[in-house]
Structures are given as C-alpha cells and as structure tokens.
Symmetry: C2
Subunit: 151 residues, 2 copies
Amino acid sequence: MPSDDPRGSERDIARALIADTRVARLATVNPGLGVDVVPVTFALLDGGEDAPERIVTAVDHKPKSTTRLRRIRNISEHPDVTVLIDHYENDWERLWWVRLRGRARIEAAGPVFEEAVDVLVDRYEQYERHRPVGPAIVIAVEEWTTWQARP
Amino acid sequence: MPSDDPRGSERDIARALIADTRVARLATVNPGLGVDVVPVTFALLDGGEDAPERIVTAVDHKPKSTTRLRRIRNISEHPDVTVLIDHYENDWERLWWVRLRGRARIEAAGPVFEEAVDVLVDRYEQYERHRPVGPAIVIAVEEWTTWQARP
C-alpha cells in the first residue's frame, strides 16, 4: 500500500503502537444485556493481496465459565466487534489508544484455527506450555483508528 | 450489608481489586456500528440506603473529537453500559478483572455533576490543574462480577 494512502498510514501507526502491548479488550454485542467487554490476548495475522489483516484471539486452557464463553455466543449472533488496545500511565501526555472494528468469525478447527493459535503461541511464551484449546476468534479488520495525546 | 451476603462479598472483593487501578474501559452500544469501547478515568460514588453505588467518569479538558463524544450519544439512545477494570501482567496467575453493568445517565450540570467531578478530581492529581469540563457519565451499578486467576 503506498505510504501516502491515509488508511495505510493510520494502520502503520497503529501497528507500531500495539506491537509491544500484550492485552486488548474485546467488546461484543450481548443481545440480552447490551454489551460485553473482556480482556484478551491477541496477535495479528497478515492479510493477502485483497484480504484485510486479521486480529486473532482464542479461548485458552483456563476453565471456561459461562462468562468466558459468552463472547462466542455473542459473536455467533452479532459478528461486528470492536477491539481496543490502549496505553495508560500517570503522564497523560503519553496516552494512546488504537481501536479496531471488524467482523468476527469463530474457528474451532481447521487451517485458519491452527494458524491463529500458532501466531498466539509465537507471541506469548505463556502459551508454550499450554497451547490454547480454542475456539479462536478471527476478526477481519475493517477500520483502524488511532488516538495519541501527543502525536 | 451483612458480610455473609454473597452480593456484598462480591462487591467488596471488587472494590478492593479496583482501588489502586487508574483506568477502566467503558463499553456502550453504538446503534449503527455495534459496540464502542474507550479507556476512561473513573471513581466510585457511594450509594444511599436504598440506592446503588455509582461509577462516574467525565469528558475532560482534552479536545473533544467526534470519537470522544460518541459515548454520550450512544448512552442517550441506549443507557445500559458495561465497565471493565482489569489487571494484566506476564504472570498469568495474577490476572483479575472486575465487570460492572449498570444504567448510565448523562449529567452536564447540577449537584450530581458537581459531585461526580469532585470525586474524579480527588482521585486524579492530573485533574487538579484541569478540572474536567464534562459532561459526566454517572452509572448506577446493577451487577458486580469479579474474576481472579488465583482467588
């Protein structure tokens, strides 16, 4: 993508900001209660020539309470999700956030599931001993938005 | 509230967990796009005898872009919101999150607005020089949920 493409620039700034951040928050529509939001691990999967980048997360090995699986039910009914990755510190001149909107798919097996889990295991040493069992949530990113207190 | 009241216990655990945390994420329903989620400063306001506790946040002095005010529009149309306060670190045995669900009201002036801004200024030294201009979002908490990796 040419560097003077504003969408490309926004995406590149966002990618640089989130590279070292280990936690995101995934917001989904809960048809009964309004909105759910949970902290998640995440990784990026590059898109193809005509395919968008994807952000992936997975249900890991921890006991899966009702709460932890609710995001899966929510996405099945309403696949439009929002992911927030932000930085907080006491110096408010250094705050930033990146917001991704996209369409989520649940992948419980197959090559896309395996690719998603592989990039998560690559990114988090904690997964080396306990590979996430899944399912994975694979979000095709449709909109990148960044905000920085001091650009 | 008696200490053997399970709702009281959950709330007390949650209050202890979030006491030293400075940032929350506020999720709102966006009628057009699904869900929005933004990082926010927050403080608790005690409830009365029959009134629930409230969690408050405010639009502060920074330039108010469309994005920053969208939460206000969302709440006007759909007041049921979810607030997530969580802790992340590399030792996943120490993870926790607290989720609050409640009904939000926009307060742009008057005693509730002033009370909300006062508790925010008390909690954040950054607001001492720049008192938030508002409006404030005041959320009557209807549900406290806590999760800890190692209770």
